[in-house]
């Protein structure tokens, strides 16, 4: 175990220097080197916000099933199936039909081709809608995969819109990721005021233009309260929605210095808007955002240029945010913040300081103890500990891993536990020295016998680290990563570097001078 060929030695140290070199990349400030890799600081160290958002698809599915009402009725009528008690309850359409019409209905409903009512989803081998028959009562609702398709589309669209909103605010390096089927993870490093972004993400921003009616007999209107407390009867018919907007910008009104939002419509939007305003001069048009009327101006002249202005009772900041929301488009479903973790930059700085301090102190204490306990071999253990740390940081740099506060704790713990491999070996050698005459032999046997124990002992910790990495989130993942990599570098440094250094000492000294 103490014999090293020149090639062995070369490989051991070349690998060490290659990996160790990466840890120095963290010291450079500018990115002018060919290899631009660095350990990232976690949100808990550099400050920032972690948000976990969840989409709520229930309202969307309710809307979608509502959209099915007309097609279903149409198909029933055209196939001369009579129905009664047609109603929608939550996410289910129910009605009664004659018993002998049921087969006829099934044929239409489960037609794989040319079925505009119930689309067959190839990917899941399932229909979009499902049905249940109880006596002569028929229930129609979205199937599991139908709901999933809606959900996935909504999630994808939400991520896109969130990205647009966050980019528009101008944060540096945001992370926006899908998490499972319903959740979106947003990480905003270095952000000072997460409240603004939270408010922006919390708004659906569904904008529509609808007419205000005075005729209470007219079909399809609802009562909405406007910003200034006025109760308005607003038609349910949407003239034009936020989808037709191509741009929106905040601006200050020249006359009264009141902030407002000017918008530009696309071709279809301008046509619709022009036609409606032309026909309804003198009436009021309600600008409705998330079921709230922000303003309801009176139409004085037809607006045909495709440009308009929303004035309301808002500050310039609010106008800016409204314009941003309108530009980014409406979220398909409401978003809830189900988890939030924000760390201020000063706490992050303190954490780095205290983490580094405890790392240095822990390192020094262990070093002193090892020299006290094992003299020359203590120095070897310490050198290998140092090599261990360099490689650990080097690998973290190569992976561009995220260093968190628990991650620093993992490094400190590695320092404490890393000497174990060397201690196991040295203690074994000590025992062998009692019976073995040849010192070289004793070291040889010691290393050999300790090998299995060292491996067994470290694999157990590695298993714990892997499970922790799989289950942990955020900072805890950082801990598992440093702990796990720490074990690998520990094995390397103890078994190659320390063993080689030991062989140098042993081969060049007589037994009496070897003091373990």
């Amino acid at each position: 175990m103490l014999n090293f060929t020149k090639i062995n030695i070369l490989v051991i140290y070349v690998l060490f220097f290659l990996i160790g070199f990466f840890s120095f990349l963290n010291l450079q400030n500018n990115n002018n080197l060919y290899i631009d890799k660095k350990v990232n600081l976690g949100l808990d160290l550099q400050g920032g916000s972690y948000l976990l958002l969840e989409i709520d698809t229930n309202p969307l599915i309710k809307d979608k099933i509502q959209d099915k009402v007309v097609p279903i009725k149409k198909i029933l009528n055209s196939n001369e199936i009579s129905y009664k008690n047609f109603n929608i309850n939550n996410k289910i359409i129910k009605f009664n039909i004659e018993k002998n019409d049921i087969d006829k209905y099934k044929n239409i409903f489960l037609n794989k081709k040319k079925n505009s009512l119930n689309i067959y989803i190839e990917q899941y081998k399932s229909y979009e809608l499902d049905y249940l028959i109880y006596n002569d009562e028929l229930s129609i609702f979205y199937s599991k995969y139908g709901e999933l398709t809606i959900n996935n589309a909504a999630l994808k669209q939400s991520i896109e819109i969130i990205r647009r909103r966050i980019d528009d605010v101008g944060t540096k390096e945001p992370t926006i990721l899908q998490r499972g089927e319903k959740r979106i993870l947003v990480e905003l490093p270095g952000i000072k005021d997460p409240e603004r972004i939270k408010a922006l993400l919390g708004k659906t921003a569904k904008l529509d233009f609808r007419l205000v009616t005075s005729d209470s007999n007219e079909f399809g209107f609802e009562k909405l309260i406007s910003e200034n407390g006025e109760e308005l009867q607003v038609s349910k018919r949407i003239i034009m929605s936020g989808e037709n907007l191509v741009d929106a910008q905040p601006r200050l009104d020249n006359q009264n210095n009141q902030p407002s939002v000017s918008f530009t419509l696309d071709r279809i939007g301008s046509q619709k808007f022009g036609r409606t305003t032309n026909k309804n001069i003198g009436k009021r048009i309600a600008i409705v955002l998330d079921d709230k009327v922000i303003s309801a101006p009176t139409i004085r002249e037809p607006i045909t240029g495709g440009k308009g202005n929303i004035s309301g009772n808002f500050s310039f900041q609010e106008a800016t945010d409204l314009a941003l929301l309108l530009r980014s488009g409406a979220l398909p479903t409401p978003l809830n913040i189900v988890e939030e973790r924000t760390v201020g930059p000063d706490l992050g700085e303190d954490s780095i300081k205290s983490g580094t301090k405890s790392l240095i102190v822990g390192f020094i204490l262990v070093i002193i103890f090892m020299i006290y306990k094992y003299k020359v071999f203590g120095i070897i253990a310490n050198l290998s500990l140092f090599a261990n740390l360099l490689m650990l940081v080097g690998i973290l740099t190569m992976l561009e891993a995220t260093l968190t506060l628990p991650g620093i704790a993992g490094i400190i713990l590695t320092v404490g536990m890393a000497v174990d491999a060397n201690v196991l070996i040295f203690e074994r050698i000590k025992e062998e020295l009692k019976t073995e005459k040849s010192i070289i032999h004793a070291f040889d046997i010691g290393y050999n016998k300790a090998k299995i124990t060292v491996l067994d002992a470290n694999i157990t910790t590695l298993i714990a680290a892997i499970i922790l990495f799989a289950f942990g989130s955020g900072p805890i993942k950082g801990f598992a990563l440093t702990l796990g990599i720490g074990i690998l570098t520990t094995l390397y440094s103890a078994y190659f570097i320390a063993r080689h250094l030991t062989s140098i000492v042993v081969l060049n000294n007589k037994k009496d001078s070897i003091n373990l």
Binding site: E431, I463, A464
Partner: protein, 302 residues
Amino acid sequence: MINNFKFSDHFKKGNIFSLVLFCLSVFFIVFKGLNFGIDFKGGTLIELRVNDKNINIRDVRSSFSNLNLGDVNIKEFGDRGDFLIKIEKADNKNDNFIPKLKSSIKLNLSNDISFRRIEKVGPKVSEELLHSGVLAICLSLMAMLFYIWIRFEWQFSLGSIIALFHDVMITIGIFSILSFEINLSIIAAVLTIVGYSMNDTVVIYDRIRENLNKFHKVKIEDIANLSINETLSRTIITSFTTLLALFSIFFLGGEILRGFSFAMILGVVIGTYSSIFVATPILKTLRVSYKTIEKKEEEIIP
């Protein structure tokens, strides 16, 4: 160092001690319960620093009493005017309550405030976190059981898992007795303890197996004594250096790592003790002898 200490004479005392501690832990966990942090219970946590030394907990509390936030727990720590506010409420729909709370504190307390940490965990997420935490601990125990079963015989596997369970329960039990908070980092600590304690047990087991092979006729008690004594200085040195590192985190690593390092310190002490006084006696109870490992010998030693 005493190199022929008769540990086996004290196994019984150790077992009784462990049993009492274990039962006490279970008793406290069941009847007193655990002090779950917001990670597992849901709620809102705010850490703030005020630069006015005259501000006390009562001032902080009254600065937002108008908001009716329900159960609020406020703690002062450190010597620089740091406060930790814990609120049980984390209503999903009402996303406005944190900014409202912040402005209310700023308005009524002092303008010279920094909000150092804000965490909000919704009820659904906290339930999932608890679930996955418990699952992770169970999985790691099972993985250890399996690993030792492959590497040793089932008796060793059973012995080590009982020792691990003992360590985990007593660590959590002490957290219950002291009402210390259980959060995500404590789960991380418990998992690390599982790894560490296993590591310690494996070293002794390895030596027991080796000695069983060497001395076929010797009684298991004596094999145990010999093996523990032979590995004792390693056990002590490694625990000591690990504790050096952990105490360094405990005293210098700041408030966030304090609970974690405390759990780890407990775990290292209990884990070291259990390798000797729990894991090893079980081998005796299970009548492990040379014959137990005989069949497998050729496969194991390379």
